[in-house]
């Protein structure tokens, strides 16, 4: 199973095995990762699952669709490497992915 690492900006880090087909957001929710709220349940409507993707991973991920980019506009401190974790579907290619949660999520 692919391993995903969830970090925050205060040094918290947890690596979790997430099943293929789940989203990075679902992996976080099922494992009580702090900082990923996913209020809307994954419908790209709230930006509370916003994460920063480790730079080296940025090009390896499928590009964000327009609706995701629009929603990231609403997120707390969006950056170039911002993604909504509900749109990142875990697969073997994502094994080793590192994401960091923003300082706050609303």
């Amino acid at each position: 199973m692919p391993k995903i690492t969830y970090k925050d900006n205060k040094g918290y880090s947890k690596t979790i095995k997430v099943e293929n087909g789940l989203t990075v957001m679902e992996g976080a929710i099922q494992n009580d990762i702090p900082g990923i709220d996913a209020d809307c349940g994954g419908s790209m409507a709230c930006a509370t699952c916003h994460v920063y993707v480790e730079e080296t991973w940025l090009d390896k991920l499928p590009k964000a669709e327009e609706a995701e980019v629009d929603m990231i506009d609403m997120a707390y401190e969006p950056k170039k490497n911002s993604r909504l974790s509900c749109q990142l579907i875990v697969s073997d290619e994502l094994d080793g992915l590192i994401v960091t949660t923003p300082e706050k999520q609303s």
Binding site: D37, D39, E77
Partner: protein, 337 residues
């Protein structure tokens, strides 16, 4: 204080269908919502997005669903209290007293919390110390246009609200529109008008950049914005309008002594009652083993909760299960002959 059978908190699809399920049983309800209209997430988050999993409705938008639900509950003449948030819930023997932030008070034997993920509030600016400007020189909505005349206004955001207010307020104020990327999301003719105003020098557009700091002791004097390449720029500003959409805040619900599981309220799946007798939760806000956050699940939940509401509101009457197709009582309540 208003007396009713059930206070429904939340006018989203589940709250609206609760009115129906209670109404056909002859129960009166009032509905309270923090937004200015019915629909909840359906209206606020995805009014135009099609929904494909409402039983027997192959496709409808959030707006259509809301409209149809309102039509369906029309016969019950339910009173709605919009722009109000329930702040307090207190027990009074077998009744509950519900108090809103506008000091409206209700008493009822039942409360159905159909609050989604909480109440919608504007997403605030992310930099620290902005509260002192709020409502004076920093605003998250425009209530009265006249307050925004002859000002230097910096508008943040890239969506419809930011664009529409840029167009409108540019008629009588100096506007700088600031967005984190160069693309704006809006209707083609709005975008064309914005471009035209910019070319004519009537508005300034700054992208891709974000707010770095606000300068000014009591009121805003200027702001500093930071571009993607690290450069900063100071902009003379006396008013900030920020349009970063809405966030959902659970708010006071967490303080009512209900058993919570993260941001959801624990209920039993027999009648969706919480740990407090007479307080029910349905829709996205409730949790029980196997819960799915679907509109259709919420409909089922309020149908079952309404039976228990009946028993509590009419303790001396026997509850009789009836079909809408055959019950004279129900047809009378729906105004059908």
């Amino acid at each position: 204080m208003k007396q009713t059978d059930v206070v429904i908190i939340g006018a989203g699809p589940v709250g609206l269908f609760a009115v129906h399920q209670l109404g056909i049983k002859g129960l009166k309800a009032v509905v309270i919502d923090n937004l200015d209209k019915a629909g909840g997430q359906c209206i606020e988050l995805y009014p135009d997005k099609p929904i494909y999993d409402i039983p027997a409705v192959p496709e409808c938008t959030g707006e259509e669903l809301t409209k149809n639900l309102l039509e369906q509950i029309k016969p019950f003449n339910t009173e709605f209290f919009y722009n109000e948030r329930v702040d307090e819930v207190k027990q009074d023997k077998d009744n509950w007293i519900v108090k809103t932030n506008k000091n409206n008070e209700f008493t009822a034997p039942n409360i159905i919390i159909a609050g989604g993920v909480g109440s919608f509030e504007p997403r605030k600016l992310s930099i620290k110390g902005t509260e002192k400007y709020e409502g004076k020189s920093l605003f998250y909505s425009v209530k009265n246009k006249d307050d925004f005349k002859n000002k230097n206004i910096s508008i943040f955001g890239g969506g419809d609200s930011a664009l529409d207010w840029t167009l409108e307020l540019s008629k009588f104020s100096k506007i700088t529109l600031i967005h984190r990327r160069s693309d704006f999301r809006g209707a083609p003719h709005t975008l064309a008008e914005i471009k035209k105003l910019e070319n004519e020098g009537k508005i300034l557009i700054k992208t891709p950049c974000q707010l770095e700091s606000i300068i000014g002791e009591k009121s805003i004097e200027s702001i500093s914005i930071k571009f993607e390449d690290g450069k900063t720029e100071k902009i003379k500003t006396d008013t900030i309008l920020s349009f970063f959409g809405l966030v959902m805040k659970l708010g006071p619900i967490a303080e009512w002594g209900l058993n919570m599981n993260k941001k959801t309220i624990e209920v039993n799946s027999k009648n969706f009652e919480t740990n407090k007798k007479g307080i029910f939760a349905a829709g996205d806000i409730c949790s029980y083993p196997g819960k799915l956050k679907l509109i259709l699940s919420g409909f089922h939940e309020v149908a079952l909760a309404s039976v228990e509401c009946f028993k509590r509101a009419r303790p001396n009457e026997k509850y009789r299960f009836e079909f809408t197709t055959s019950s004279k009582n129900i047809q009378d309540r729906l105004g059908k002959k």
